[in-house]
């Protein structure tokens, strides 16, 4: 194997140093909301200008690997996925942490990432030529069906009921249509200037996951005096390793899903974890355990999103077509060094290419070692932070993380508004994961459908175009199986649940009425817009929303009971002050500088939510707030060169 000829170069001192630093840095960056793998790699490209080609690529490759795994740390510990790729990890990872198994969840995360990651790179080394051919088979019709496969996963993702999950997913698809349509150039649903640019996926991710968590933390700090996030634990690393490696089925499903999704150009890798999670759940004898801290969920999701890294480089290295958004940035890194994708990479530039691929393998090893070493420390550390401090820190990090994506204040507003709505939706049994998945899949489904239809209209016609061809047929089959299975499970569950439990509660009534109202609003907006082609897809979505909302309503009416309305689900009395602070924060961000506004918001949140303060504690709060802001300044201004508006 050619790679062995270059093994010496991989182990050079400079490469090893870069690998270790990049892996450690990547794990930390990946754990911060907003700093997705794509952004981390883009930020590092200028640093590679000063390095030789191999070292520069080793740096980018190691950061790519490590940030993907790092996004799971914040997901497991604080319920905020660092990047879209880590959404599936959170579904069972955070419940594990809440049960006192945070360290164990992190162990599973790194061990599974290692297994998946190594397999992915091995696939890259041995199967590049045939896989590149397969990647090219994915045209608009195949991409459209791929997105539909993703949509069928939506219903089972962490929602209380399949119908609520589907409603949330379609809502996400609709959110993705806000802004200017790339195919028709038309501006849709822009009823405020903040929406002109649409809803960026990472902005939605931070809002939908981080903001409800902030509110939850604030409520916790009021209601429990200790204020800790989760309980202590005692897990040995050895027992984690043996358990993890014994879960062969979860690891296999995860790794396979990751490899397959990775080579499909443009599918985004972001859905690898979700597809794997859905599959492992469907194959499990007891699907009801998922969402409540089932280790298999973490294992499948994390093995999948790291298994995706290697294969996503296959179409990149052979055809110059990136398999994921991060791989797209990596292409820039290759070109700057004069390395053009194609056969030349493995002949003329063999040394650089093989050093790069070899170091990807080595990066997995370092990621495993550093990750495992960090697991206990980080979970103990996060565990000891009182909730009000955590809430304040997450608020400021969410604002800076969101702003730094595209230097946009509108994004910060959108993030906080979307997130606040999500907190209420959470209370009524809707969850964030299907909405985010909808936002990711929306453009893939719509754009490819529109392009496919244009091609089909001048050729054989839409029906044969979308319904023939081996890849199309396989994907359609997968869709049907996936839908059939979900329906079967739902029916089985409904029979099993006794009529006593099925009585509708005030909560489900509000949810159903709210869903109907929301879908009516969307439908009205579609109807009011002059019905050009650009509104075909939103119209379909509005109809689907109506359908699912109607199903929710029928359920409520069928099980009507005269239960009096109980206490409200949302703890407004505990949240009032916090919401006032956050609104004030938004106003201050625009009038004062980002850093002074953030310092004030941080201090205010901690002060207002610390019960029974004495003088000593007040002084401590002030010290912590100054120290925290200094760290934020160092990270965003000094290291990442994010320039914020205002003076300071």
């Amino acid at each position: 194997m050619e790679i062995f000829d270059y093994i010496g170069a991989i182990f050079s001192i400079s490469n090893l140093t870069v690998l270790i630093l990049a892996t450690a840095g990547g794990l930390i960056l990946g754990a911060l909301p907003g700093l997705s793998p794509t952004m981390a790699v883009a930020l590092l490209i200028p640093f590679t200008f000063q390095m030789d080609a191999a070292t520069g690529l080793v740096l980018l490759g190691a950061v790519y690997t490590a940030t993907v795994a790092g996004g799971a740390i914040s997901g497991i510990l604080v319920n905020i996925p660092g990047a879209p790729a880590n959404i599936a990890t959170v579904l069972d990872g955070h419940p594990m942490a809440k049960k006192g198994k945070a360290t164990q969840a992190l162990h599973f995360c790194f061990i599974s990432s290692f297994v998946g990651g190594i397999t992915g790179v091995v696939v890259l080394i041995f199967f590049t030529p045939p896989l590149a051919k397969l990647a090219l088979k994915f045209g608009p019709s195949e991409m459209f069906w791929m997105a539909i496969v993703g949509v069928t996963v939506i219903g089972t993702l962490g929602s209380k009921s399949v119908v609520k999950g589907l409603f949330s997913g379609v809502l996400g698809l609709w959110i993705s249509t806000i802004g200017i349509s790339p195919i028709f150039g038309e501006s849709r649903f822009v009823f405020t200037d903040h929406l002109t640019g649409g809803v960026h996926i990472v902005v939605a991710l931070i809002g939908l996951f981080a903001v409800p968590q902030i509110y939850q933390l604030l409520v916790t700090s009021r209601q429990t005096l200790s204020g800790g996030l989760f309980a202590t634990e005692n897990t040995s690393l050895w027992s984690s390793i043996t358990y993890n490696l014994s879960r062969v089925k979860a690891l296999t499903i995860g790794t396979l899903s990751g490899v397959i999704v990775g080579i499909i150009p443009g599918a985004g890798g972001q859905i690898a974890g979700l597809v794997a999670y859905d599959q492992v759940r469907k194959f499990s004898p007891d699907a009801s355990k998922f969402g409540h801290g089932e280790p298999d969920g973490v294992i499948a999701a994390e093995s999948a999103n790291n298994a995706m890294v290697g294969p996503s480089l296959v179409p990149l290295l052979t055809l110059g077509i990136p398999g994921s958004p991060t791989a797209a940035v990596l292409l820039g890194g290759l070109l700057i060094n004069g390395l053009f994708p194609g056969p030349d990479l493995f002949t003329v530039h063999a040394e650089v290419t093989w050093t790069f691929i070899g170091s990807l393998l080595l990066a997995q090893v370092f990621m495993l070692i550093i990750g495992l070493a960090l697991s206990r420390t980080s979970s103990n550390w996060v565990m000891r932070v009182p909730s009000q401090y955590m809430a304040a820190a997450v608020t400021v990090l969410a604002v800076f993380g969101t702003y730094s994506i595209q230097n946009s204040y509108s994004d910060v507003v959108l993030m906080l508004v979307l997130g606040s709505l999500m907190y209420v939706l959470n209370k009524y049994g809707f969850s964030a994961a299907p909405i985010v998945l909808g936002i990711i899949l929306g453009p893939i489904a719509e754009d490819n459908f529109s392009m496919g239809k244009m091609i089909a209209d001048v050729g054989e016609g839409a029906l044969p175009y979308f319904m023939t061809g081996s890849v199309n047929l396989v994907l359609i089959f997968v869709c049907l199986v996936s839908i059939g299975y979900s329906v079967w499970v739902e029916v089985k569950q409904r029979r099993a649940v006794t009529s006593e439990l099925k009585r509708s509660t005030p909560g489900t009534r509000v949810a159903a009425v709210g869903a109907v109202a929301a879908s009516l609003v969307v439908l009205t907006m579609v109807m009011l817009a002059d019905g050009t082609q650009a509104y075909d897809f939103p119209f379909l979505l509005a109809i689907l929303m109506m359908l699912f909302a109607a199903l929710l309503l029928i359920d409520v009416l069928r099980t009507w009971s005269r239960q009096k309305s109980g206490p409200g689900l949302v703890e407004w009395s505990d949240l009032g002050v916090g919401i006032v602070v956050i609104v004030g924060y938004l106003i201050l961000l625009q009038t004062a500088g980002f850093y002074s506004a953030s310092w004030i918001a941080f201090t205010a949140i901690v002060m207002l939510y610390t019960v029974n303060k004495n003088r000593q504690q007040v002084i401590r709060i002030l010290w912590v707030s100054v120290g925290f802001m200094a760290a934020i300044y160092g990270l965003f201004n000094v290291s990442l060169r994010v320039i914020t508006p205002g003076l300071f």
């Binding site: 952004m39 200017i180 055809l319 292409l331 700057i336 209209d457």
Partner: protein, 324 residues
């Protein structure tokens, strides 16, 4: 907002005072006072982003701007999102600049309700020009632009042509081809140059217009039939004829010019300073070396030249797009 206004008026006041003193050196001491941001209206990793990062990498040198340039991306809707933001919300003190793509932004400003047009933006300097090339899959029966035109004449409306999006250079080239050869092709706007290239590689479309630099890198995985420019591209593709040479009268109006611009309202001294220094910066040997390595054709133009080019393009596009 208020603070920003106060700040910018202080800068304006400072600059006006300096007008009285013989300026260039005095001004250089005042501007820039912080790292300069350059907004790129396309995503990280795309050709514009990648070239912008190389073209501005020497900014920190005291010969040039004496402050680093920080690139940030505002992608969406073929560039409309980023440029809309820039022309309506960016600061006018010279610390927020943007990268432009011609003919994209001009064509969009004519066809859509955008907040930008050539009158509210100030060109600084141009670093590159990437002509559109006509490409077909490697196993395509077409071996020249003539073959393709002949087939399209026999099968009106059936020829599918991919490109990076609506009203970008590739779309303009495709419209020009239709007009010059009197054929009607079906233009498929993909979500970016890479996606458009993929559709040609996978034979999902019969032909495509794409960036010369990206097509060149594909080697023999595709066939390049013609360059949509006034002359051949001598350094990368000397053997590929222009459309004109093949009897199809298509000029250089679709060539993708890339450069740096400022917002209208930026103090004239700052613009003059930038026009001089950025123009020099693009000529740095290190920039040229990296651009060449990345297969990106450079075309360095001064502010005056770019200004004229914008006006000419606008007049031409007005005419071409009028019938649509």
């Amino acid at each position: 907002m208020i603070l920003k206004k106060i700040k910018s008026s202080i800068v304006t006041a400072a600059v006006t005072t300096m007008l009285l003193a013989p300026s260039a050196t005095a001004l250089a001491a005042e501007y820039p006072t912080a790292p300069i941001q350059v907004a790129v209206a396309y995503g990280p990793g795309g050709a514009t982003d990648f070239q912008a990062r190389i073209a501005t990498m020497m900014a920190g040198n005291e010969k040039y701007l004496n402050m680093p340039i920080v690139i940030f991306n505002k992608p969406g809707a073929g560039g409309q999102k980023g440029w809309n933001w820039y022309a309506s919300s960016a600061s006018t003190d010279g610390h927020q600049l943007a990268a432009y793509n011609v003919p994209h932004f001009i064509a969009q400003s004519l066809k859509f309700d955008t907040s930008y047009n050539i009158d509210n933006l100030e060109p600084i300097a141009n670093w590159g020009a990437d002509p559109a090339v006509l490409i077909v899959p490697a196993d395509s029966p077409f071996n020249s632009a003539g073959d393709l035109v002949a087939w399209s004449k026999a099968n009106p409306g059936k020829l599918t042509v991919s490109g990076a999006g609506l009203y970008v250079g590739h779309h303009i080239a495709s419209l020009q081809l239709d007009k010059a050869a009197d054929i009607s092709t079906k233009y498929i706007p993909a979500g970016g140059g890479v996606a458009a290239m993929k559709m040609v590689l996978g034979s999902q479309v019969m032909a495509g217009f794409n960036n010369l630099s990206d097509a060149y890198r594909q080697g023999d995985r595709i066939k390049i039939l013609a360059v949509a420019d006034n002359q051949r591209e001598e350094s990368f593709l000397p053997d590929v004829p222009t459309l004109k040479e093949q009897g199809i009268d298509v000029d250089d109006s679709s060539v993708n010019f890339r450069g740096i611009m400022a917002r209208k309202g930026t103090p004239p001294e700052v613009i003059e300073f930038l026009a001089e220094r950025v123009h020099l910066m693009f000529q740095d040997g290190k920039v040229a070396k990296k651009m060449k390595a990345g297969g990106s054709p450079m075309r360095i133009m001064s502010r005056a030249e770019v200004k004229q080019m914008w006006v000419e393009r606008q007049a031409y596009l007005d005419d071409l797009l009028a019938g649509l």
